[in-house]
Symmetry: C2
Subunit: 346 residues, 2 copies
Amino acid sequence: MYNNKRATIKQVAKAAGVSTQTVSRVINNRPDVAPETRERVRTVIDEMGYQPSALARSLIQQRSYTLGVVTAGLKYIGPSRTLNGITSQAETMGYTLLLKELSHFDTEDIEPIVSNLLSRHVDGIVWAVPEVGENHQWVEHALTDIPVPIVFLTMEKRPKLSIVKIDNYFGAKVATEHLLQQGYRHIGHISGPMDWWESRQRKAGWSAALQEAGLTVADSQCAEGNWSSSSGESAFIKLRSQFPEMDAIFVANDQMALSVLQQACRQGISVPAQLGVVGFDGLAESPYYWPSLTTVVQDQHLLGCTTVEEIVRVIEQRRGKEIPTEPQTIIFQPELAVRNSSIRSK
Amino acid sequence: MYNNKRATIKQVAKAAGVSTQTVSRVINNRPDVAPETRERVRTVIDEMGYQPSALARSLIQQRSYTLGVVTAGLKYIGPSRTLNGITSQAETMGYTLLLKELSHFDTEDIEPIVSNLLSRHVDGIVWAVPEVGENHQWVEHALTDIPVPIVFLTMEKRPKLSIVKIDNYFGAKVATEHLLQQGYRHIGHISGPMDWWESRQRKAGWSAALQEAGLTVADSQCAEGNWSSSSGESAFIKLRSQFPEMDAIFVANDQMALSVLQQACRQGISVPAQLGVVGFDGLAESPYYWPSLTTVVQDQHLLGCTTVEEIVRVIEQRRGKEIPTEPQTIIFQPELAVRNSSIRSK
DNA sequence: CTGAAAGCGCTAACAC
DNA sequence: GTGTTAGCGCTTTCAG
């Protein structure tokens, strides 16, 4: 299938008794080659197991069909699901990925990462790092200097940037409204870390739903977690003591919601009768929690796919010297999956 | 930080009034450059934001400092954790990754994937796809033809291959022995899909532990799942009917174990008093299941790190014209985390 | 210490 | 139809 040393176009040309140019024409399916020459060259190519070097091609064509992907937190399921979408769409569209994972979510010095990708001539960059702290600050300064298109995932709207994201505010609001509809009136919240933009959006959605229902929102109704089950446990305990009348809770992700369910079980609080619980994410396991968890489902796979589609669109556009359209913001609305943890009615 | 068009070495040379070779010497920290020339060139480089092209370098040096990573199932947490280890170790060792994800675990036609990686001049390949069905069959034929080193994760031992893996058999055996120690005598098993090598290993470990304890192992004591919580539920129901005396169960992964716990809870079976449960994986959430889950912890991050270390070692070795050492098999022993779901004593 | 020439593997532009 | 020349951006001889 492969020869031990990769053959070069020169060797193929020699073996087929033609010039390298002719071989080039054959491998690129150019029309102006005599059918029988083409045939002969093809045969030699197969025999030698020749594969053209994508590197050499990239150099001369000034185009690599390679995308840089910058991510963080692959040990968590969310970023991985997004990456899964990115890889599958990239494969479909004929692009290869260079992967970089930041060691921390809040890495601010992204210069070496971007430099490395650019030195490898990526055609575009997908920035799939959640917005945490100041970690997106650099876009203000550096962006116009980066010579390839970038599409961002999951960040606050900024002018002139292409962004693909899920509407966290909306999802949180829908979740909270569902609890209100079920007749719960004292609805607490366990948030993600407040330096995460997504956490703030989800909290804002929860808060807005309560206010629109004419309820007040006090600080004591919210506790901060860090996405882990462990932090969810402490947050729940804290919340119970500072907000004893709580009869329902909107939790910013499913893993923390899981430990709320577990604690409730341990303390003999019946869910959903005494406590309604709604999570966020739509983990595959969430229907198998006890009781099954009502949650806001976000399709991160689709998010990844769309991002790749979008960046390829921008790349093609720029290359075709078309008038670049304004950067787009693409927003997906997540959906509420209603299950047992929040159904009080009847 | 970056100029809008990437500067070339030629432009830098011209601006600094030297030849391109001199610039080359400066960026490669070669000794034989006059200090003041070096200084001048450095200044120009900074001003122009010049970054050498890794592509051009790879071409001429016949070395790219790039690794191909082939994975599958990134939407599951296991493969992602491994990938997380791979990225971090690659970063540490100065390698960049080209990522390919197979669309199915049992993809047999890997030729286009490998070709693509080779055409991009990867220095080595990490094959991080679990062994399922015939999906590793190709190694028998194609391997010697692939001109770069490959290291495999998680596959059956084969001669002449470098493999890094976790000892699934051992982990499963330890888990089962633990249940025996706790006094359980009728120990069932929910396996993963039997076309997975890992599933077969875990089942074999369970079976061996029972036999060594002088217990018989019947087909009725085992049911097959497909790793998902959903399949765990059906498998558990089936197992209860075909093996009613079951007092403990070793489940091949945590997600299926989760639904066993949930079903037990729903049916009023008390864990661990009436039913001992042990899982496999060591998911971060597993301590927060109810009751907290005893599980075999596998460090997939470490697995990924080690794989990269190993392949870089082989690459260096081959490049240094050293006598290649025999391909290694590196095996990690997983550890049992004992928690409430299996503690019957006292 | 520095530069000129050659070439990594390929393709664009032109000849014939 | 096909070959020649030039060059993508860099490094490796080898002069000087």
